[in-house]
Symmetry: C2
Subunit: 360 residues, 2 copies
Amino acid sequence: MTSSQPSSRHLVVAAGQLGPVHVGDSRESVIERMCILLDEAASRKVKLVVFPELALTTFFPRYLLDDQELKSYFDVDDPTQGGIAQAPRVKRLFDHARSHAIDICVGYAERAVQPDGSHVDYNTSVYYSADAGKVVGKYRKVHLPGAVEPYTAAGAYQQLEKRYFRPGDLGFPAFRAPGLIDGALKKKDGVTDPAQSKLRGDPIIGILICNDRRWAEGWRVYGLQGTEIVCCGYNTTAFATKATGEMVDMSAEEAEAEVLLHHKLSCQGNSYMNACFSINVAKTGVEDGNPLVGGTIIVHPNGHIIQEAETKQDELVVAEIDLEDCRRGKEKTFAFEKHRRVEHYRMILDRAGAIEPELL
Amino acid sequence: MTSSQPSSRHLVVAAGQLGPVHVGDSRESVIERMCILLDEAASRKVKLVVFPELALTTFFPRYLLDDQELKSYFDVDDPTQGGIAQAPRVKRLFDHARSHAIDICVGYAERAVQPDGSHVDYNTSVYYSADAGKVVGKYRKVHLPGAVEPYTAAGAYQQLEKRYFRPGDLGFPAFRAPGLIDGALKKKDGVTDPAQSKLRGDPIIGILICNDRRWAEGWRVYGLQGTEIVCCGYNTTAFATKATGEMVDMSAEEAEAEVLLHHKLSCQGNSYMNACFSINVAKTGVEDGNPLVGGTIIVHPNGHIIQEAETKQDELVVAEIDLEDCRRGKEKTFAFEKHRRVEHYRMILDRAGAIEPELL
């Protein structure tokens, strides 16, 4: 049940929080800001920087856009052209990260070129490994909030992610990031017993995007792959709306406090319940009059917040973590193989929506 | 998407927190304490009181017991004899609740008599409806913590639930509680459209027990049945142990703070993520030298704690709630039918334990 303690798996990570990106801000200007954060990260010995959802643009799903306007917010990801890391407008970001030997996880609006030349649009984050010199992990947002059709109530606040993006088609694929830590067990070492290699290889990473963090299913699928770090960028409005898009009747201060409560319960609760670190990073501040919450936090597998943003601007939030700290939860309370009873979970797959018990 | 607002669904509920129950304390003495809490509840117009896990006895899984000792902690539940509500030693509790027109949810060690006369032991809670005059909901703990074999490390703290109980065989069965609120829609009203009856019938209740509250799967299965109130009793040690049963190296104060953080993240996070109230009630204080945390809390569907215990003794923690408050979450952020993508959740059923990605 216990394991001999391997050498520690220390690592310095960071959330690269971004202040607002306004309509019309160029990719170049945003990437310049991100590169400045990477320079700071390098000086602080950071090995991984997580950037927000849709980091390169304003949060455009708040607007009803025509096809031409919409196109300007997307970046083309063409596998035959080297993918996003080689896309002309954004290549500089990845190259800069590599020059500092820093991994980055970054969100963008992906226009995915299909084999037949057509395209499909996703809300995507990729994980770029400086050691590998390429993208080693890709995630497309599964839990798209909002609606396809604009809300029609007077004063309604729009959330059109379901209109602009297709739900992610990649599931929740955990992956390993090479070169992040020293001394990771490798395939060439020839260890074939999973118990012997458990939590000893290159770090296991999962990606979530914004609203996904409220859905225990995504976290659990990552947990079931032994994930040690979840990277989650977000754009979250600082106020609360109803199903109609209308504002909930509460003060701005109350609403922001509630939004932050929900954010923290989701990130801290799910990190704890899956015994993983999570790096949760905001695009924040006021984008063209639209307030976004901050609350960038790095969470420990025991559920504590270990580092938190102090501003609503561009800010590097840095923490030194030890991946060994995932072990206590994964070996005891959340030793899934000992405690989970999958025969009682069937409803999780058998129905998407709730079905109430019959009336009495 | 929106619904016309029905009349409010107000209800006064309570957690019947219990202080310690020591080895040798009689059922009679414990039930007397519970009846005193029910008397207070009646005077405060409470309609539902939730009592802790294993409320009638000390938390005996901390001891290695022989069959004879073990037997003394179980209550026989024989369906041919009217079940637990008619069991001679505990009948008074249910009768007293009914005399006050109060529903109770109560945990006990169930020795379930089988058709062939043999028995199976479970860690169980039942929901007794005063209106129906019988048990209308039963739950047997699915996520049993601890181990079958005693820990052998020096100073190890035992947790033998896996030795003494079989994992629950009933899944997570939500049920409706008649008579709790006025004006509930009934089958005889002839409404056949689920959208019309949604959240308008008798309250939908689910039961969890202690460690279950840390497992998002149970909460979600209840959420997928439209559950409005989760009743969760617990006995939780006020210190932290490793997978070996040995103490984690931290001060008593730090350990208790961490245990309470995990408790609150679990109850608040999962209530929020399923848009339901939860009534989380401790057996607390020091049982024969063994400290249990308090932290009895009633949680709102928006994740707030709306009422919290002030002591580590017998204490009635009362809150007036409005089941209508479940509606905002269930109709927007957690409108499961709009947002869940079950095709990406298969791993939740396909594997019990974690399988890591291949080594690089």
